[in-house]
Amino acid sequence: MAWIIAPNGRARATSDDAANTSECDENADAARLCGRWSHLVKCAKQSQTTAGKKVEMNSELSVSLWRGARHGRYETYRVPQRQSQTVLDVVTFVQRHIDPTLSYRFACRVGVCGSCAMTVNGKPRWTCRTHVAKVAAGGRLEIGPLANLPVIKDLATDMRLFFEKWQQAKGAFVPTKTRHDAIAQIKPDTPARQAADAAIECINCGVCYAACDTVRWNSDYLGPAALTRAWTLVNDARDGGNNARLQAVAGNGGCHACHSHQSCQELCPQALNPTAAIAGLKRRTAMAYLNGEITP
């Protein structure tokens, strides 16, 4: 659930489906005063019931969770279903009330950190932003760790390779000025800056990496997240590392391995578009190669 201040100054709470919204009867200041989150949640819930929305409420969910590491099995637990329950709520319930040996990761639980990404009914998602009512057909859920990464235990994966590929793609800023130089003037509406801004909000959750079949088939492939970050830096006028960066993404496992399946783009919770970023890298590396600036 999210909330925004509408142009008329009133606070509005929305849930995942756009149809399910409610505006607060009081103005935004009042909402802030009374503790805006709980206030708006209350408004949204009232709207849910008064609008006569049918929320499918089985009394219990049947939840299969992966237990083990590389080898293991799915174990099934029964979890009471609640209104507006998220998948993270379900996993947390199991760990707190049924089996304390369950391992899983989360941090903010409000959709800004990306730590809680898991495979839910076959799709990699942020579990804190996935409403059970939306995905649990017939009251069943299957939750596993993110794919394409080694499993440490249960629902927690080893993200090190994901971050190492970030480095291999030269996804780090290379400065060209010092504190003694004038601040760089970057216009926000230049095509390069717009391209960088469109791709910059990645929080390294790993959903795209888990969704990507090319990652699954090609262990060298740097992956959508690392390449998207490289793309933002390629478009950063202040950065001085482009030659090495283009070289890094032009080899085996670089941007050219992408087949434009677009699972990354479809599933990115930040609505980023790695396919487009990688297409941009393909163009830049091809030009650099034809100009003799890089070698494969």
Binding site: V151, H259, S260, S263, T275, A279, K282
Partner: protein, 116 residues
Amino acid sequence: MIGRELKHRRSALWLAAILHRISGLALAIFLPFHFLALGLAINGEARLENFLRWTDQPLVKVAEIGLVFLFTTHLLGGLRILVIENFAWREGQKQLATLAAALSAIVAFAFLVRVF
């Protein structure tokens, strides 16, 4: 790995990419035979003519319809890639991909009508 395939719903674009790859593989396997058949003409037209008569069989014609479908699919799938990689991002790609598959089927069907 966990030992379970990811069951996430495959989108039209994923299917387009897989169809592009499978059609390419099928065409790659077909091509040497195609070249060998045409090469029969080296020894005069009679051998090529015999081969062409052999291909008049209904089953071969059905296979040819399949080839036309694969050929068109591979072309359109390749155009999809070339457009994504060289032009500005466009929305509505899923619909275009579905349309392309339909177009391939239509072309193959048109060929069917011609040969039967």
